[in-house]
Symmetry: C2
Subunit: 434 residues, 2 copies
């Protein structure tokens, strides 16, 4: 599709939801509180339940026996139809929405259906778009892993011996995944009274080291049966689309609890995702090469394609309750050593079955320069330095009332951006005393 | 209820499913392939969908508006009704099934409903009984943790500094939980070519160190909202019932992958659970004290009750394809330092929301003596010694064709056991070559 394609729906320049995008989400409104599928276009959502009921899909034969998926409260049904169907539906909606549409009768010139189905985004409530069976968080951001290794273990061997061989990951918590715009309370838990003392004694406290983790996530659209691994070169067909993920982390709780089984309370209190799932098809023009490595990988991880990660521009903004916005970080989602296809091949290599709606996240994505790092603990060098904010404020870690907004987009033509909108949450004070 | 209570349904002595038990499960049969709730009694299942349809619950007023839960394909709906309802339904079913029942018209003397609803267990297929949102595996078996610490780090400090303070846990994989009787393939993955070499180089291989983990698990029946921790002294009301869990582990894959985020491929290929959920109410007479500790615990973990864990007798049997059964281990579920109430209080202390159907498992349960350990890696001292089996066979780790059956029961009166039946799986050869 040409970058110059325009829509008859007004789309302001710089919109993340150009006609080149067509991301899918789950919405409700005050008048129609039951969550239903939708796509975003410019400053509107197109309610697909209303669109389907109003014969909106009458121009696309292949979907007619599956219209029920557009009245479901999650995207699982639509996702399970598979990538060839996603491609057709997205292309059809682009055709319906383009200025020179041949389907004017469907929506452009159908005032009744337009009124019912095209809703300003500011009247829309977004919901977690998938029923997420399992959520797995990887550690593919090699710059983050290196910086953390230098902070924790010194400069000699920043990466663990397994790092460049194994797509390291841990199972994370799916229940506490929240949608952009949701607030959450600062978590409490066990932290060390004195981390330098020889005898380790914990106390109960709200975390004093609340941090972000800038990540990209993908939802899966294809299951594999238990015992049947997904080959790396067909793994792409299982990837429905992507969201931005903020894997909030309590560094002091994490430091005390994580040996030997990994992070638990430090990360299970909330994970924010952006509202709209950008389809893998929409991201395909932005494929590029992942970071290079000096180790050979085992055959089950070797992809035939060379361009296997998306060059998505990412930005992290902090808005304190009492001050202006500061941009903390700018980087790209290409700063990883494993593609999602490789992560999926590894995840299933021992036979683990994946389900439609499962979420795989990249792990923290960082560049190597100052101002490109996807967590505060990297920017403050393990809590040792202060981060200067605009308005004369400063931070080591996040304070109550802080809002973090992560955003991401592909492309440079301001009329053809493929973007994610916001992944945003406000931090409320801790509620638990004990 | 007296131990001498008998049922008009024939129950052989030693049955795990005495009238003192009444465990809940999900079954199907050849004639009725749609999974429905049931209870086990002796050598029969009572199909609760048929029972409800045939006015079986007409003697229990309080359930009449909730009968729909007995036609659902999982126990989530029934569990969500809460423990007071579980208590009433279990007591009512005991009344209906006892020899001197006052409800003879309901089932005992109602041949039509008996024929429809009372099904021999050997004609029944069991299914995973709950939709499991998240599965969390703890590490509460202190004897296992100590033995593993001695094997991995030497005798000086077998427990990590956090162990007696934090109910250590990791998020595990819910998709690969399978029901007793299911088979699975030996997993393949990355293992070290030579664990003693200075430069660590992995190879792709079927695991050579396939192991068991003897655990107890509980399903939850009450949700808490995000940001609202469950107080330890009301956590019991969120515990629906228990199953035996075998958390299969590939020790060679685990050793290479687990730093720094914990086990992943080594444990996500399969977890077997027993078929019938023994209600927390049925286990209440068998409460006892957990293992004592020499550390003060933080207030959020302190229970008012003293007896907080169940004294469930546990036994692990290995049946090789070419030899007789060997009992590998006998121990009790009381060999833990944290109760499930404490695990739940900890899990939610930072605000993590739990959902009905979530599974919490204890971690490996071991005694301290030879023949009481819940994993092979403890019995073979980290792979160094051979375990002698009956019939002149021996093992270090499990071989293809081996079956492991774990079972558990409470009580000594052979006519009033509260048991779990089998938690059993057969190991198939690896399928993946690469």
């Amino acid at each position: 599709m040409s970058n110059t394609t325009t829509s008859w729906v007004p789309i302001p320049p710089g919109s993340h939801f150009s006609i080149a995008n067509i991301p899918f989400g789950i919405i409700s409104t005050e008048e129609r509180p039951a969550p239903v599928p939708a796509v975003a276009i410019g400053e509107h959502a197109l309610d697909l339940a209303q669109f389907a009921t109003g014969n909106g899909f009458s121009g696309l034969d292949n979907i007619s026996s599956h219209l029920n998926v557009f009245s479901e409260p999650t995207l699982n049904g639509f996702a399970a139809l598979g990538r060839p169907v996603h491609r057709e539906v997205r292309a059809y909606l682009q055709d319906v929405l383009r200025s020179d549409t041949q389907f004017g009768r469907i929506l452009k010139d159908n005032e009744e259906l337009r009124q019912k189905s095209l809703i300003p985004l500011n009247k829309v409530q977004n919901h977690v778009p998938m029923t997420i069976g399992d959520y797995t968080d990887f550690f593919a951001g090699v710059n983050h892993a290196s910086t953390m290794g230098r902070i924790l273990r010194g400069a000699a061997n920043p990466l663990q011996p397994n790092y460049l061989h194994v797509p390291v990951a841990y199972h994370s918590r799916s229940s506490s995944i929240i949608i952009s715009g949701s607030q959450f309370h600062r978590p409490s838990g066990q932290v060390l009274q004195d981390p330098t003392a020889e005898v380790k004694e914990p106390k109960f406290s709200p975390t004093n080291r609340l941090d972000i983790e800038l990540e990209l996530g993908v939802f899966l659209c294809r299951e594999n049966k238990l015992g049947v691994p997904v080959p790396v070169n067909s793994a792409e067909e299982a990837i429905f689309g992507a969201v931005i993920v903020n894997d909030w982390s309590a560094r002091d709780i994490q430091a005390w609890e994580y040996v030997p089984l990994g992070p638990f309370i430090a990360k299970n209190f909330a994970t924010t995702i952006s509202s709209w799932v950008v389809l893998a098809d929409a991201l395909e023009p932005f494929l590029t090469s992942s970071l290079q490595r000096d180790r050979q990988m085992l055959p089950y991880l070797q992809e035939k394609r060379v361009e296997n990660v998306w060059d998505i521009q990412l930005r992290v903004d902090l808005k304190p309750s009492n001050g202006p916005i500061t941009t903390l970080s700018r980087t790209s989602a290409k700063n990883v050593v494993w593609s999602f296809a490789q992560m999926l091949a590894h995840h299933s290599v021992g036979g683990c079955n994946m389900r439609v709606g499962d979420l795989l996240a990249s792990g923290t994505i960082s560049g190597t320069e100052h101002g490109t790092q996807g967590s505060l603990v990297e920017q403050n060098k393990g809590g040792k330095e202060v981060i200067q904010l605009n308005g004369g404020l400063e931070r080591k870690f996040l304070e109550d009332g802080d809002s973090i907004t992560i955003t991401g987009w592909c492309g440079h033509d301001q009329n053809a951006l493929v973007g994610f909108g916001d992944c945003s949450s406000l931090i409320l004070p801790a509620v638990q005393g004990d």
